[in-house]
Structure formats: structure tokens, C-alpha cells
Amino acid sequence: MLIFATMIFGAHINEYYYLATYTILQFVVLGTAWNILGGYGGYVNFGTAGFFAIGCYTTIVLNKIFPMPLFFEMLVAAVTAGLVGLGTGYLTLRLRGVFFSIATLALAIVLQTLIVNWSFVGGARGVYVIRPAISGMFISYVQFLVVLMIGLATFSVFVAWTVEKSWIGIGLAAIRDDEAAAETSGVPSLRLKLIATTMSGAIMGMAGAPFPFYVTYVDPATAFGLAIAVNSIAMPLVGGTAAWWGPVVGAILLGSAQQILTVTISSAANLFIVGILLVVFLTVAPRGVVGIARSLKQRRR
């Protein structure tokens, strides 16, 4: 439905709003993906930027060697990022959750260093990408991208919602609460963690795939940027990690706040405020907006 709305009103909207919407939608996807492993399973991924960048650079590489429609590039990105997630998980999920988290951080930086040193994709200087011509019902490529993102956001939320209600979600919740007790209750924890990591990574990769066309200039500093890493953690935590709609709320709240702040103050300041909000929420309202809503509902009974 949202898609139709965008198409119909599209022509009349200022291009800036498109850009803002795209960013917020992107964070809905990233936050939701992060939450599948982080919120549901309790394993914190610090390397979201790495998976996102895998998506970006998959598109860039494919574009140079073997151009194909963005949709297929997204699929390839999903597979690549998913495999990396699976691999990382397989190697580190047998250890304590803390080591997994540190490993994801290390992974992101190692990937960044590899890209920086790979001149085929532009190295540290970055690379320019040309937006393809647009066909059919779209007014501009940006509009197409936004629509694509709406689709991806809907898809990722759907995946999260399904996982949450399914046996995977219940198993993950048990693992998050007490992994040993979960195991002795029959929960195959390694298997479930790997499923979550792969799904999470794949969706993050898909979020990254359209990014080069959106910004038209990609360099490692942006693709692997701090903004992605922090937001993908802050948004689910502020919104609430226990439910699928937490990351969505978080993305909309924090995302909009950042758009406003970037325009009015500065982009460094806005990230600063994100950091502060993250810490404040963690300290005061660790269950996020979801938690607040749920306890209000309980009190009303």
C-alpha cells in the first residue's frame, strides 16, 4: 500500500524527503536484521557495517564485471553476506557471546582493510557509480530506490515477525535467557544461532546492495562508517529488542531525529546525540519503547 502511495504522490514530493525516507527505511532493515540475532538471540553484532559493506561492494564488483538488474545484485549480496555470517558464526559461536561480538568487530575492520587495499573497487579513494536509466512507471531512479527499500523493509520485518513467532524465535529466546538450560531442554543452540547469524547477515547485505546507486560515490569510510555500526545497535535497543516492531520504531524515531539534527546542527552532533540516547535508554529503559509499552499495558490491567 505504501508503494502505491509513493508512486501516486511521488511526483509532488521534494527530492530531499525521498533521500530522508530512504535512509530511514535502510535503518529499518538494518535494525530489524540486527535484532534477529541480537535482540532475539542475545548475541551482539558489532560488525553490521561489515555486512552492509559486503552488499555495497558486491554491487560495485558485479557492476564492473557483469552488470545485472539491481534485484539480482541484491540476491547475490544476500548470499555472499549470508555466507560470511555463517562462516563467522561457525567459527566463533561456540565461544562465549562476548567473543562472538569482539569477532564481529574484528571482522568489520579486517574487511575494511581488505577493501581499502583493493584498487579494483577504488581502494581508499572510493569509486563512482552511475545510476542506470529508469524505465516504466518511475519518475526518477531515486523514487525507484525508495520503493525498493519499502519492499525490502517490509520483507525484513516480515522475516523478523515470522522468526519471532516460530520455533526459531522461541529457541533463540531460550538461548538468550540461559543457553545451557536451553541445551538441556533440547534446543539445538549452535544450529539456531547459525540460522540467525546467516539470516541477519544476508538481510544486512541486501540493505547494502542498492546503496552505491543511492549515493553514487562510495568509499570505505562511508560504507563501513560508524553511523551504520552505531545506529544498527542503537535503534533496536531504543525501540525495544523483544518484538519485531521495536527496531522499526527505533529506526523511525532516531532516524527522523538524525535527519532533523543533521540539517539544523551538524552531522557529528547528531551522531553524538544518538550515542547519548543509546546510553540513556540502556541505563534507564533497557527494554526500550517496546518494554515501556508492555509495562504500561500490564499496569492498566
Binding site: 520455533w167 522461541i170 529457541g171 529466546a173 531460550a174 538468550r176 535467557d177 540461559d178 545451557a180 538450560a181 536451553a182 541445551e183 538441556t184 531442554s185 533440547g186 534446543v187 539445538p188 543452540s189 549452535l190 523483544a242
Partner: protein, 240 residues
């Protein structure tokens, strides 16, 4: 001949040079009630962790119901019917009491229909006397109730063997009797039970056979009265 449902031989486990268990053998026959006693730190919980798959022994082998399970992951052992409770209760805090019990029903037993699972969970809660608190969070339970939840969760896995690790610690006399009665009932239904306890009254009443572990070694294994008369047991383990 009664078949052995659980057999462990030569179990040795070291932590950083310290031998927590040395060459422990024992068997549990079908339908048997065995008590495991020993001073604090003697290795009982380590043994349980090795049996259930939370820890991997450095040496030795374990078989369960004719399966060789030494390398089997913990969750698969639970599926096969080896259940345990934890010394310090470890409920899933983010779930209700009922949902706690539903986890093994879903994973160890393999039910898929939500209705079947909920019904079965309520039956189990009935058995352990927690039905009234089914929708509450574990945070609101008393010690006894938490222990019952542990038992309920272990039961939900439809176990053939239940290892009850100090499930009565810190309970009052009547509470101990409650738990004992429950365990006896379960045993009557065919579940082999290994009771690890410090409360000697309960162990003597309950067990058909007693195993004593001191400093990681098994020093006695036999009828309760015989074992308690042995010198080493008296020396090493000073009763309740």
C-alpha cells in the same frame, strides 16, 4: 536382567591441571532410584555436566539406552530422554512459567501444534503443582516453586532418565517431602532417577542404591545401609 539405561565408564575431567573427576564408572538400570552423595566440590555437578553434555570429559565413554553418546551434543541427549535439573534454578526469565515448560515440549519432544504444546504444558504444571502460577514470570516464584519449575521442565522432555541435582537444597522438611513424593511418583511411572543430594534423610529414604564420590573418585557403590557403614564414607562425608 534389567537393562542399563545409563552407563559411564572411565570418566576423567581435568580443569587446568586440577582433576575434578578421575576414572569414574557407574551404571543406572531401568527404573532404578540411585542416590549420589559426596562433599561439596567432590565433582558431583561436574559428573552431571559430563553426563548431560554440557562438558566434554577428557577420557571415558558414556552410553545411554544403547546409544553411545560421548560425542553427542547436549540437546540431542535431551531429545533422547536424558533430562536434568540445575542445582541453582535456571528458568528462562523472559518467559512465563508455562512457556518455560513449553520449550522442552517443543524441542526435546518435538510437538509442533501450539495447542498440543500448551495443553501438555498445563498437564505437566498440574503434576508439579504449579498450574496456578502458569502465566506468571519466574521472578515471582518462591524457592520451592522454582525447584518445581526445574522439575517440570525436566519432565516436559519426556525423559527416560532424570538427574535431579540438589533439587531439595534449602527446603523445609515438608517441602522436601513434597518433592520426594513427586519423584517417587515419577519413578513409579517408569523414569529412572539419579538423585544428588546432601539431605541424608531424603537420600536414604529414596535410593535403592547409593554412590559416593569424594575428591573426584568413586569410593562406594551399593545398598544404602552397606555404603553408609563403610569407613571411608564415614570419614570423608560427615552426614547431614
Amino acid at each position: 536382567m534389567t537393562a542399563n539405561i545409563l552407563e559411564a565408564s572411565g570418566i576423567t575431567k581435568r580443569f587446568d591441571g586440577f582433576a575434578a573427576l578421575t576414572n569414574v564408572d557407574f551404571v543406572l538400570s531401568k527404573g532404578e532410584r540411585v542416590g549420589l552423595i559426596g562433599p561439596n566440590g567432590s565433582g558431583k555437578s561436574t559428573l552431571v555436566n559430563c553426563l548431560t553434555g554440557i562438558l566434554a570429559p577428557d577420557e571415558g565413554s558414556i552410553s545411554f539406552d544403547a546409544y553411545e553418546i560421548t560425542k553427542t551434543p547436549a540437546w540431542l541427549r535431551a531429545k533422547r530422554g536424558l533430562a536434568r535439573t540445575y542445582q541453582i534454578p535456571r528458568p528462562f526469565r523472559g518467559m512465563s512459567v508455562r512457556e518455560n515448560v513449553e520449550v522442552p515440549l517443543r524441542f526435546a519432544v518435538g510437538h509442533t501444534s501450539a495447542r498440543t504444546i500448551t495443553e501438555a504444558a498445563l498437564v505437566i504444571l498440574e503434576q508439579v503443582g504449579l498450574v496456578a502460577k502458569a502465566e506468571l514470570s519466574p521472578k515471582g516464584l518462591t524457592q520451592v516453586e522454582l525447584r518445581k519449575l526445574e522439575l517440570g521442565r525436566a519432565l516436559a522432555a519426556q525423559p527416560k532418565v532424570l538427574i535431579a541435582d540438589e533439587v531439595m537444597a534449602g527446603l523445609s522438611e515438608s517441602e522436601v517431602d513434597e518433592i520426594l513424593e513427586l519423584l517417587n511418583r515419577l519413578n513409579a511411572e517408569g523414569i529412572s532417577i539419579m538423585l544428588i543430594e546432601h539431605i541424608m534423610r531424603a537420600v536414604m529414604l529414596f535410593s535403592q542404591r547409593i554412590i559416593v564420590i569424594v575428591a573426584g573418585c568413586k569410593i562406594a557403590d551399593g545398598l544404602p545401609n552397606d555404603v553408609m557403614k563403610q569407613d571411608e564414607v564415614e570419614r570423608a562425608y560427615l552426614g547431614e
